[in-house]
Structure formats: C-alpha cells, structure tokens
C-alpha cells in the first residue's frame, strides 16, 4: 500500500508573526502515514503556535493568519476553524482537558456525535429531538477504547476519574472519529503516572501500527526516544533539528533545545556576584501552593539579602506558584520567614506590610487598574499600604491625596523606565504590553520594598522593552539594595539578570545553579522531576 507517494502531512515554509513579533520562521517537516513524530523545544519555542496553525484555531486567523503551506496527502489545505481540521482527519488532545465533568466516559467520547434514533416527535420538531441510541454509543466507545489499547471504565463519570483516565478519555474521543488520520498529543504524559505514561506510549505504538500518524509533544525526552520515528527540535521559532529518533540521545536533544549560541548567553565575568556570606532574608520552608496548573509541592528555598535569584523551569511545573503562594494570592501552606519574622500565608496585606512587593505575571488581571491613569496606577498601592502621597487634614481625620507628589513620582518613573505615553494622566489600558509591564514595575518600585517578586516580567513584550525592563530590575537591585526574585520561563534572560537560578520541576526545587552554569546543566534540571 505504498502507492501513495505524497506523505500524509507536509509543512512548508510556515511563518507566523504576532503583530510583528516573529514566532515561527520557515518551518519545514513532513510526516508519513503511521509515523510518530516527536516535537520538542523550550517554552516559547513555537510548538503550540505551530500546532494551532495545523489545527485551524481561531486565534491564528484573528491575528492575521500565517505564511507558507500545509499539505495533507499532497493537497494544500487551509483550515479556518478546528472543525475543518477535524473533517480533514486531524484530531488534537489539548493540554487542558476539554471534558464535561458530569458525563460518563462514553458520553464524553461521543459528545455531539451521539448515534441517534428517530422517533415520532423528532419527525415533527426536527432532529434534535431524536433519542440517543445508548447501545450504539456503548459499542462505539468500547471500540474506541479498544483501539487505544488502554482499559478505562466507559461508565465512570469524568469527575470521579483519576487524572490519567481523563487524559485517556480525551484520546479515545479523538480515536472514535472514523476519519482520524493524524492525532496531535500536546504533552499528554504531563499528568500521567509513570505506569499510565507507559500505557500511553504502547497505545501510541498501537495507533501507529493501525496507520494513524501521531505528533507527540512532550518534555519527557526519553518518551520521545522510546516511541517516535523521528524527532523535530524547535528553538526560537526555528526547526533546529529534524532527525530519526534512533540516531540521537536525550543529551543531544537537550542541547539542541536550550543551547543557543553559548557565547552570547555567557554572563560577563565582572557581573557575577556571590552572596554566600550575606544573611538569609527570605526563607521558605515546606511550601505548598494550590495554584491551578502551577502546583507547588514541598518547596524549601533560601534567598540571600541583596541578590537577584532567578526561578526557572518549564511551564506548569510550579515556578509561578511560589510567588503567588508566598504573597497570599493562592491558597498555600508551609512556613515563610522574612528578615527573621514569620509571615502568615494567605494574607496578601501582611506581606505588603512587611515590605514585600510582587509584580504579577497577570498584568491585566492583578497588576493594573486598567481604566485608571498612570498616576493612579503607580501611586495607588503606596497610598493604600504606606499612606504615602497623602496629606493629613484635621490632624489626620481626613486624608487628602497629594496630587502634586503623585504627579512627580509618576513623572520620575516615566522618565526612568522610558514609559511611552502621552502623559501621566493616560489610562493604563491604552498602553502597549511592554509599557504596561513597566508601569507594573514602577508601581512596585514606588512602594520602595525591601524585597521584590517579579513574575514573568518579559512575557509578551518585544525585545527592546525586554532589555529595558531587565535593566531596570538590575539597576533597582544594585542601587537600592533590594533583593529580587525573578520568575521567568526564559532561561536566557534569567542567566543575563540573576546571580543564582533555582530550577523548579514537578513542583519542587530541582536544584540551584550559578547563572554561569551551562545550558545543558539547566536543561537536565528542568526535566529531572517533570510530573
């Protein structure tokens, strides 16, 4: 049956930019029928964007489409919606579950594709009043589950299922589609136990044997080697390697994933500082945080006074949970000591009172008062927490805003951080992402904290703004002696900015390395405890 000469899927010169920010450049690869392709790369390498293009997600069209061609069986296709992609035989299992919690596995597997029986009422009022054919539903879901090769209880309600079984239900749903030719699995093993992951791998082999092609995205590199025919490694929007899996190793892939031009990444020697002798200013012991998607388990970490500590790691491994938990934004437990005093958890106000500050990764949600002016945004926390910028009237009974002081301080930060705005009265929502980020920083700086958490300070902002933001952080740390903990998905910027970098993996601190350590070392830590 090798008469069909054109491969199942060809990606040719795929390009994509988000408003001038190039995220994919000249992506080329092919995938044959029944082949398994492992796709790996750091966060932000462009894997997800590529898969969104392939799956016809709305966000691609809304942001101006893409360049290049996608060919299925040699035919050029253009998917405007995921439904087009489904029709063409592409199925995708997303990282987030897309299941109805109160339905059984069977009901979810056949959601909106239920076999139906006509009846008298539906003849009159239309097809939606057809009754469901439960017997046929059971049969088809059993068939899909068998195709998958992993046993799950088709009668069990999703909300009662262990997380792994939910994942399998999703896969079975894709398999129950008759036309399925290509299945995209986006980090399917991230939520599985080792045993379940093993079962999934054998089920992928099984699918491939039945002629279904699979694109398998994972951070667990040994899985790729175990199951894939070939490996595509992406970095910064480029395909850096496309090799048969048999000819490579975990170490090699890791190097391709993180190791960019090693020279540029090296931190200049003069900047490396050691704070080993400094006192411990923040000490975290046995911290757990229940932040959805960023669960933290049993983290213990000491931060030295005056340093910049980086926290890195892959997405979903818990690095974001640490600042959010310490600052009381998500439910947390454990023990946090700041400057020798214990800070109660789950109480943001007490953290702020102890002169800790936090620049959240959720700029628009937590960070800014979008409908207010820059002046307000920058001065508001300081006003609320430290009674700054207030004039006391009548011996403090009435507090009056000191508009002049507010204006001055805002102007100062606008100049210092080069915030591009029409005036200090402009509304925060009218600024670009990078400038909003600067406002968030200014807001934290205005608090004049002793300790600053900065979470994903460069997420979604362009290169120029990035450099400025990182520079401002560094300067703030050097000039004011503020201890900074910076959380970022981008290892490179951590290495440029921080003194030490802690890598979080599987909700725990996998290790702490000096910024000058090699990319490979960081890469190995990142995937060491991935759950």
């Amino acid at each position: 049956m090798t008469t069909n000469t054109s491969p199942l899927l060809q990606m040719q010169n795929i390009k994509k930019d988000f408003f001038g920010n190039q995220v994919l450049t000249d992506i080329n690869f092919t995938l044959g029928e029944g082949e398994v392709l492992g796709l790996c790369g750091e966060n932000g390498a462009g894997k997800s964007t590529l898969m969104k293009i392939l799956f016809g997600m709305d966000v691609i069209r809304e942001t101006g489409g893409y360049g290049g061609d996608v060919l299925i069986n040699g035919q050029k296709v253009e998917f405007n919606t995921p439904f087009d992609a489904l029709k063409a035989g592409i199925g995708m299992v997303h990282q987030e579950f897309s299941l109805i919690p109160g339905f059984t596995a069977t009901e979810n597997i056949l959601l909106n594709r239920e076999p139906q029986k006509k009846n008298v009422v539906s003849e009159v009022f239309g097809e939606r009043l057809n009754t469901l054919d439960y017997k046929e539903m059971d049969r088809r879901s059993a068939e899909a589950i068998e195709k998958m090769g992993v046993e799950i209880d088709s009668k069990m309600v999703i909300s009662d299922m262990p997380v792994g079984h939910k994942q399998f239900t999703e896969i079975a749903r894709e398999l129950s589609k008759d036309q399925l030719k290509l299945l995209i699995l986006d980090e399917p093993t991230a939520v599985l136990t080792e045993k379940e992951a093993e079962a999934l791998l054998s089920s992928i082999r099984n699918m491939a044997a039945q002629g279904i092609s699979v694109i398998f995205i994972t951070h667990r590199l040994h899985e790729i080697l175990a199951v894939c025919d070939k490996v595509v490694v992406m970095r910064d929007g480029y395909v850096v390697k496309d090799v048969p899996a048999a000819e490579t190793s975990v170490e090699e892939i890791t190097r391709w994933m993180v190791g960019r031009d090693v020279q540029s990444a090296a931190v200049s020697a003069g900047e490396v500082r050691s704070h080993e002798d400094a006192k411990t200013i923040l000490s975290i012991k046995n911290l757990w945080v229940d932040m959805p998607g960023e669960t933290v388990r049993n983290v213990s970490l000491d931060v030295k006074e005056g340093e910049i500590l980086g926290i890195g790691g892959l997405a979903g491994q818990g690095k974001l949970g640490i600042p959010n938990g310490v600052m009381g934004l998500y439910e947390a437990g454990g023990r946090v000591e700041f400057d020798g005093k214990e800070i109660p958890l789950n109480n943001p106000r007490r953290c702020l009172d102890s002169s800790l500050a936090f620049v959240s990764e959720d700029r628009r949600g937590v960070g800014l008062l979008l409908d207010e002016s820059l002046e307000w945004n920058i001065a508001f926390p300081a006003m609320q927490i430290q009674n700054k910028f207030l004039k006391n009237l009548l011996g403090g009974v009435i507090k009056w805003r000191d508009e002049r002081a507010i204006h001055q301080v805002t102007q100062k930060y606008i100049d210092e951080l080069q915030i591009k705005c029409t005036s200090s009265k402009q509304k925060a929502k009218e600024l670009s992402g990078g400038n909003q980020q600067k406002v968030c920083l200014a807001k934290a700086f205005a608090l004049e904290p002793k300790f600053l958490f900065v979470s994903e300070p460069t997420r979604g902002i362009d290169v120029g703004a990035k450099a400025l933001v990182l520079d401002a952080l560094k300067r703030f740390n050097r000039d004011s002696g503020v201890t900074v903990v910076m959380i970022s998905s981008e290892l490179e910027e951590l290495r440029q900015t921080c003194d030490r970098i802690a890598i979080v993996s599987g909700g725990q601190v996998a290790g702490i390395l000096p910024a000058a350590a090699s990319s490979e070392e960081f890469g190995m830590l990142m995937i060491s405890k991935v759950v």
Partner: protein, 375 residues
C-alpha cells in the same frame, strides 16, 4: 476500629449537610402541624389540591437548571402569557375543557416570544442569568400591565363589560373564571375517604414527568446537560450553545404557561394584576425546599418540595395564631421563610463551591505531610 467509624459518621454528616433544607422544613412542619390543629384529612386534601395546582409549574423550572442557567425567575413570563390568553378566552366565553385547552394553545405564542426575549438577554449576561431573569420580570411586567390596563378594550376588542373596568378600557382587578373552575380537576376525579384526588390533573403532571425523563435522553436534552456543565467544552464540540440555552428558556416559559392555566382553573378566578407576581418566587422556593440546588434538580425534588413547602404554607397561619394569637404573623412567617429559603440556597451554592476549592489545598498539604512522614 475507630478509623472505620469516622467515615460512617462523616457520611451521615454529609447527608445532613446535603439535605439541610428539606430536613429543616420537615422539622418546621413537624412543629407547626400540631400547633395549627388541622385534621389529617383536611391537611391531606389541601396538599393534594396544591400538588395538582403547583407541580406542573415547579416542573418547568427543571429545563433551565439542566442547561446550567440556574433558577428561572423568568418563568413568571410564561404565567403572564397564560394570563393574557385566559383573559381573551374568558372574553370569548369559551368555558370548560375547551376553554382550558384553547387558553393553553393561545398562551404558546405569548410565552414563546417572551421566553425567546428572555433567553436572548440571558445569553448576553452569561454567569448572571438569575439576576437577569429576575429583573426582566419587572421589565416585562410593565409591558403586561400596559397591555392589560390600556390596550385591552381600546385596541384589542373586549366584548364583555363584566371583565372590563367601568371606564371602558382595561381589565378589572379580578376576572372570574367560574365556568372554568376545576374543570380539569373534576375530570375523572376520585374521592377516597373524603379526599378528592384530581386524577386528570395528576395525569397531566405525570405526562410532564415522563416528558422530562424522555427529554433527558434526546439529543437536545444531552446537549442541554453538556451546555449546563461546561459551555466552552460544549462549544468546542460543535454544540450551538446560545441556541440551546434559548430553547431551554423557551421550553420553560411555554410549560410555565400551561402550568399557569392549570393553576388558574384550580383557583377559579384571575387576579389580573397580581396573579403572576409571586408565582416564580413560590415555585422556586418549593423546588429548593425539595433539596434542589442552583445547578441540580430532579423530579423528586419538585414533588418533595411542593409537599413540604405547601404543608408549611397551610399550617403557618394556624401556628402563628397559636403562638401569638394573630394569624397574620403566620402569614408573614411563610413569606419570610420562602425568601429565606431562596437566599439560603444561593449562599449554600457559593459556599459549596468554595469548600471544594479549599479541599484541593488541604489534600495537597496532607499529601506533603504523608510524604514527610514516609521519609
């Protein structure tokens, strides 16, 4: 040994917590019944009458709950539609069973239109369906009054002066439905030991229940349940979420229209301007008393709720008189309780969500402790 006992106790506690409202009402009724001093046959008679009167109305609340839109305060819209239909039919002097059937048929366009408007507005306010539907009530009530008070008689011809205000347009405060009174209830009625059982009305209620059970098994019912649990997932699966939600509200309003006709034929007169005003509130309270929540309700909840809530309703004035010597206190008490039940149910719904959330955190902490202990 001890370990085994705890889950059993926990289970009982869970059961009590899950059914706090019905249990509370059983206790209230148990205290009130002896105070009111009614004979059992009187109570039974009243309960049966009220079940026939209200069950259909309460059951129509189940559709929007199925579609995840919460308690449909806007079922009142269906009641308004039915009232307009009943006024017209009364004016045309079509009485008895034909009158009832015609009223039901005539109410469909009114309630369907109002339901469609309501559903469309609720779709614009996803996540705030209940308060939206509640406010829509007041808005549509204005329209209703405009129609009944000015348009009927001036634009819509009203033939019989007996239902018209003396000034020549507008409908009187009360429209007598004496010729329609209990015609459904009397059909096939059976008397057992002095208790009249309106068999035909119960058959209608039974049919409604069967319809709901059957409906759950249809494609539309399945879609509604899917939409109710997770709109995004349903949308991703290709279900037309907005349309499904509108259909559920329209079904609810139309059925409420039928229910209102059944209600009115039992009462035997139509309080033109106030007939519908409390319907939504009392039906929702009854359903909640039966143990339903904002997101989950069953036919059983409706039956239990109607029995308990109306038992309380019947005995409260008597009990009030017994305690304070003033039956108005009991009257006051029952209205106060029905609002209280709704407030309680809404709060408990939020509290449960929050509890589930903090449970995840506790589990995490315990897992960590176990691990430490193991190490």
């Amino acid at each position: 040994m001890k370990k085994k006992n705890i889950p059993a106790g926990k289970k009982a506690l869970e059961l009590v917590r899950g059914n706090a409202v019905p249990i509370m009402f059983v206790i209230i009724c148990a205290i009130f019944i002896p105070m009111a001093g009614f004979s059992p046959s009187y109570l039974l008679n009243e309960i049966i009458t009220r079940m026939g009167r209200n069950l259909f109305l309460v059951l129509c609340l189940l559709f929007p709950i199925m579609a995840g839109m919460g308690l449909n305060f806007a079922m009142t819209l269906g009641a308004m539609g039915a009232e307009i239909a009943v006024i017209l039919v009364a004016d045309w002097q079509i009485w008895g069973i034909p009158g009832v059937v015609l009223s039901m048929i005539l109410s469909i366009p009114f309630s369907a239109l109002l339901g469609f408007i309501c559903g469309t507005l609720q779709n614009m306010a996803k996540g705030r369906e209940m308060i939206t539907s509640y406010i829509i009530n007041f808005f549509i009530n204005g329209w209703y009054q405009l129609i009944v008070l000015y348009i009927m008689g001036s634009i819509i011809p009203i033939i019989h002066a007996s239902i018209m205000l003396p000034r020549g347009y507008g409908i009187r405060n009360t429209v007598s439905l004496l010729n329609m009174r209990q015609c459904l209830d009397d059909l096939l009625a059976v008397r057992i030991g002095g208790v009249k059982i309106p068999v035909f009305t119960f058959i209608l209620v039974g049919l409604m229940c069967l319809f709901i059970i059957w409906f759950r098994r249809t494609k539309l019912g399945q879609d509604m349940r899917a939409v109710g649990q997770d709109m995004d997932v349903a949308r991703d699966a290709g279900i037309n979420v907005d349309r499904t939600r509108i259909i559920s509200v329209v079904m609810s309003t139309v059925c409420a229209g039928f229910g209102m006709v059944i209600y009115l034929q039992n009462i035997g007169n139509l309080p033109t301007y106030t007939g519908h005003s409390q319907i939504g509130m009392f039906c929702i309270a009854a359903l909640l008393v039966g143990g339903a929540s904002v997101e989950k309700a069953s036919i059983g909840n409706a039956f239990l709720g109607v029995i308990l809530f109306h038992l309380m309703f019947i005995v409260a004035p008597g009990a009030g008189a017994f305690i304070t010597g003033d039956s108005m206190v009991g009257e006051y008490f029952r209205v106060f309780l029905s609002y209280g039940v709704i407030a309680l149910a809404l709060i408990m719904y939020e509290a449960k969500k929050r509890m589930a959330k903090s449970k995840a955190g506790r589990e995490l902490a315990e897992a960590q402790k176990e691990k430490e202990a193991a190490e």
